[in-house]
């Protein structure tokens, strides 16, 4: 829109300039332009109107923008006013002066004196011609008087004499205009063109006769050709026609005299008359001339003004645009938009300014994106760190120099059973349930500090600088929190170090629950003890048994019946106890060195069904219920060992149910197998088989639960405490996992075995096809 207007303005101005030039040229009184003057005026007016329209449109737009408070309109308005003023004012001044000048100068051309002089000159010329005419008239009357009554021959002589006096021609004519006698300066001349008309003759008959100045320049001829007084004068002549005073009875005759006006007089008079006519023309035309000049000037002024305003718009627009771009840019930057602005294509300071502005916003943008990148990197690093911390199995507690908890991870909650995250900001030793832990940690840090100070051999102050041993490590045993039903202690391996936190120093404590490790160590130790004990004990057992049997055999006959009875009792007791001891020792040996498992593909469900045949009576009294998954994959297992596992677990469950009070609800054992799908560490999916045996007995005692897989831990009066350890050992050899727990609703125990080694796919597929 604006571009169109702009082009229109430029084109309009160009047209106006050309037209104005034509118009100014047309003011000269000649040629093609003069003839098309009105047309030119019309076109100029039209262009002026078009420019006016354009300017009005521009002004209206500017005004509406100004009213709307559009950004930049004030600057634009000021610039437009300025430039328009600069353009218009000189134009107005020149116009005023020109109008005054034209009006006055045109009036000054017409002077009363000049007019009077021309008038007088004309009258002089007229008088001179009149004089010549009256002279000719007098000559004619004299000649006519002489001619009266004379015949043609004598008349010819008279005429000849008259012609000699300077006439062009002299003729004697009849009343009907017929030539009677003629005489001429040039004897060969033809008189027919000079004959008087009937009207002339009619007038000649009147008293006074006909006397007339004839000829003169033809106006058309004078207009078209170069004007020359001499040429014009050649046509000027005087004609007098008179009636000849005839004696009565004779037919009336007429005398015509033609005389050329003297060239001198004629040409001067002609110049004078021409000048007079032209002066009169100019005088008549002066209003038109003034109108023409003033009109042209006014039109010029209008075109100049509109052109000036239009140009003012263009210039102001060009000047204001870079500023507007910059202002727009600053506003955008303030709003956070750092995208580059359009560059103003000029070589001056404004162009440089916009370029600098763009450079500045570019640098800002760079700086801001760098900050953003750093922040994002930091955030992701922090998130990563936090996720590492959060997923660590070890508990991490960060303390400041005063022992106040700064940070901790989820593992702390799991291990210590304390919601330490909610307690952040409190001193560690103020937190309920952690007094022992806090005391141990504090002591350890103090001891380390003391050791360091001692090692450096200097006062405590010096130890602040210089290298320190970075950490301490210590096992801490803390009691379970009161209120939980587990009264077993937790063994922690804690590691502490100092670290700078903020301005001061702080402490970091990392600890892990090593109860399981301790348990395993205990288990290994027990195994060793059992093996040695079994070996050491078993050796003397056979001699003891043999000695006892031999004593009975040899002494039975020698003793009295009473004594023999006593002996038999005694030796039987010895033999029985030795047998029992042997069994016990065998158990120990079996536990200590169980044969390695031989893994073969195995249908776990089939094995379970086989075993359960021994337990099931197939009637209402059965307490064992099975829920075996139909599509259970085959596993790799040693059938003998797995059989022992299942036997042990079922035995445990039955033992647990036997202890329960009779008024309780019906005893029940569930045997469940199922396929478990899990996501492996390498991201691939895997399948495992789970075997669970649940009972609704009293469940494990808390103390037993944490150490269930250690040998000689039993709740049973006659158990060896080797059942579950054996199970655990077998499961470990199968590469599986075993978990013992009390059921979530508190009604009984649950043992869950996860077997991860499955039979190869080919076997499975073959098995499926066979089925």
């Amino acid at each position: 829109m604006s571009k169109v207007l702009r082009y229109a303005l430029v084109v309009g101005s160009a047209i106006a300039t050309i037209l104005l030039f034509l118009l100014a040229s047309a003011s000269d009184n000649t040629g093609f332009l003069a003839r098309n003057f009105s047309w030119l005026v019309g076109v100029n007016t039209a262009v002026a109107l078009a420019l006016l329209l354009l300017v009005v449109v521009y002004l209206a737009r500017l005004y509406s923008r100004y009213k709307a408070g559009r950004f930049g309109s004030r600057l634009m308005a000021r610039l437009v006013l300025l430039f328009a003023g600069i353009g218009i004012l000189p134009g107005l001044v020149i116009f005023m002066v020109s109008v005054m000048f034209v009006s006055h100068s045109i009036e000054s051309w017409f002077d009363v004196k000049i007019e009077a002089a021309l008038d007088s000159g004309l009258k002089l010329g007229q008088a001179a011609l009149d004089e010549a005419l009256s002279d000719l008239g007098a000559t004619a009357s004299t000649t006519a008087a002489t001619l009266g009554g004379q015949g043609d021959d004598s008349a010819h002589i008279v005429l000849m004499r008259t012609v000699d006096e300077g006439m062009q021609s002299a003729m004697l004519l009849a009343a009907d205009g017929k030539l009677l006698v003629a005489a001429a300066e040039d004897r060969r001349s033809d008189f027919s063109g000079d004959l008087p008309t009937a009207q002339m003759l009619k007038q000649a008959a009147m008293p006074g006769g006909y006397a007339r100045i004839e000829g003169g320049a033809d106006r058309d001829f004078r207009d078209n050709g170069e004007h020359n007084g001499l040429d014009a004068a050649t046509g000027r002549r005087l004609r007098v026609v008179l009636a000849v005073p005839e004696p009565p009875g004779m037919a009336p005759r007429y005398l015509q005299l033609l005389q050329s006006v003297p060239v001198n007089l004629a040409s001067n008079a002609e110049v004078l008359s021409t000048a007079y006519s032209e002066y009169q023309d100019r005088k008549v035309g002066r209003t038109g001339l003034r109108k023409m000049y003033i009109g042209t000037l006014t039109l010029t002024l209008l075109l100049a003004i509109f052109g000036a305003i239009g140009s003012a718009f263009l210039i102001a627009g060009n000047l204001a645009q870079p500023l507007l771009v910059l202002a727009e840019g600053t506003r955008a930057v303030a709003e956070g938009d750092l995208s580059p602005r359009p560059i103003v294509e000029t070589n001056d300071e404004l162009g440089t300014l916009t370029q600098s502005f763009n450079a500045m916003t570019g640098q800002l943008f760079e700086a801001r994106s760098a900050v953003e990148r750093n922040r994002a990197a930091l955030e992701s690093a922090k998130a990563h760190l936090e996720s590492v911390l959060g997923n660590m199995s070890a508990g991490v507690i960060v303390l400041d120099a005063e022992g106040v908890v700064v940070n901790s991870n989820d593992a702390v909650h799991r291990i210590l059973q304390v919601d330490i995250a909610a307690l952040a900001g409190r001193a560690l030793d103020q937190i309920e349930g952690l007094e022992t832990f806090a005391e141990a940690v504090g002591r350890a840090f103090s001891a380390q500090s003391a050791a360091q100070s001692a090692a450096q051999g200097g006062p405590g102050g010096a130890s602040r600088r210089g290298p320190r041993r970075s950490h301490w490590q210590q096992e801490i045993e803390i009691p379970r929190r009161p209120g939980t039903d587990d009264d077993h202690d937790i063994t922690l391996l804690a590691r502490g170090s100092r670290l700078p936190v903020g301005a001061g120093s702080g402490f970091i404590v990392v600890f892990d629950d090593i109860s399981d490790v301790i348990s395993a160590q205990r288990s290994v130790a027990w195994g060793e003890v059992a093996r040695r004990l079994a070996h050491e004990i078993k050796n003397p057992l056979t001699p003891i048994q043999l000695s006892a049997e031999r004593m009975q055999m040899k002494l039975a006959d020698r003793l009295d019946p009473q004594g023999a009875e006593l002996l038999k009792k005694g030796t039987d007791t010895i033999v029985n106890q030795v047998d029992a001891m042997k069994r016990m020792v065998d158990d120990f040996r079996d536990y200590a060195k169980a044969p390695p498992a031989v893994l073969t593909p195995l249908d776990l469900n089939g094995l379970i069904t086989q075993i359960l045949n021994l337990y099931l009576a197939e009637d209402e009294s059965d307490v064992i219920h099975t829920a075996l998954a139909a599509d259970l994959p085959r596993i790799m297992g040693d059938p003998t060992q797995l059989r022992q596992v299942i036997h042990n677990l079922l035995q445990n469950a039955q033992d647990a149910l036997a202890d329960r009070p009779p008024e309780d609800r019906a005893a029940r054992i569930d045997v469940i197998t199922e396929a478990i799908h899990y996501v492996g560490a390498d991201g691939g999916s895997g399948t495992a088989v789970r075997l669970a045996i649940l009972d609704n007995g009293p469940g494990f005692a808390p103390k037993i639960l944490s150490r269930a897989f250690e040998p000689y831990v039993t709740s049973k009066a006659r158990g060896t405490g080797l059942g579950l350890p054996m199970v655990k050992k077998i499961v470990d050899e199968h590469g599986g996992r075993i978990d013992v727990a009390n059921r979530a609703d508190g009604s009984g125990a649950s043992v869950s075995i996860l077997l991860l080694k499955l039979a190869p796919e080919a076997n499975l597929a073959g098995n499926l096809a066979g089925a």
Binding site: Q126, V284, G288
Partner: protein, 174 residues
């Protein structure tokens, strides 16, 4: 004289066509027309200052044709020049392309213009006998011959305007 005054009064700033007739003669068609007008004061003064005044008569004979453009049978234009010889103090009337007439008084000269001779506007075969033609006649002081300043002045000055309305009448060709 009284009638003439009335006519001029009616045509205060214009020319009245008081008679318009087309006659068929042996050599062709002639216009027999009379005009009533008087020169304005400005014109009269300019004339007596030596400025020639031109009068142009335009006539057009058309035959309406319902199926095509109108048939423009005759279109003629004649200009008469009136000027004053300031030296000889006589008025010349010149029908351009013809001979010049000289009159002693302005009235005589104007009379020659007001009542021109019959003007041959078309040859014998120019019109189809029996057909009816529409004639448009117009007579005016021709400003094209004025000097340019006067032409400009005439744009808004009625002193320099002397023109008739277009007079239309029908003529049945013989």
């Amino acid at each position: 004289m009284l009638a003439f005054a009335c006519v001029t009064a009616q045509a205060a700033d214009g020319i009245d066509i008081t008679r318009n007739r087309i006659e068929a003669s042996e050599d062709g068609y002639r216009l027999d027309a009379m005009y009533a007008f008087d020169l304005t004061t400005s014109l009269r003064q300019a004339l007596q200052g030596g400025m020639p005044v031109y009068f142009t008569t335009e006539i057009e004979l058309t035959r309406p044709r319902w199926y095509w453009y109108d048939d423009r049978a005759v279109a003629a234009r004649r200009t008469v020049r009136l000027d004053y010889d300031v030296l000889a103090r006589v008025y010349h009337v010149l029908v351009i392309g013809s001979v010049q007439q000289t009159y002693d008084t302005l009235d005589d000269a104007l009379l020659a213009i007001r009542r021109p001779g019959r003007w041959l506007i078309g040859q014998k075969g120019a019109l189809k006998p029996g057909e009816t033609y529409e004639v448009t006649l117009r007579m005016f002081m021709d400003r094209d011959y004025l000097q340019k300043p006067l032409q400009i002045d005439a744009l808004n000055n009625s002193d320099w305007r002397l023109t008739s309305h277009k007079k239309t009448f029908t003529y049945r060709a013989e």
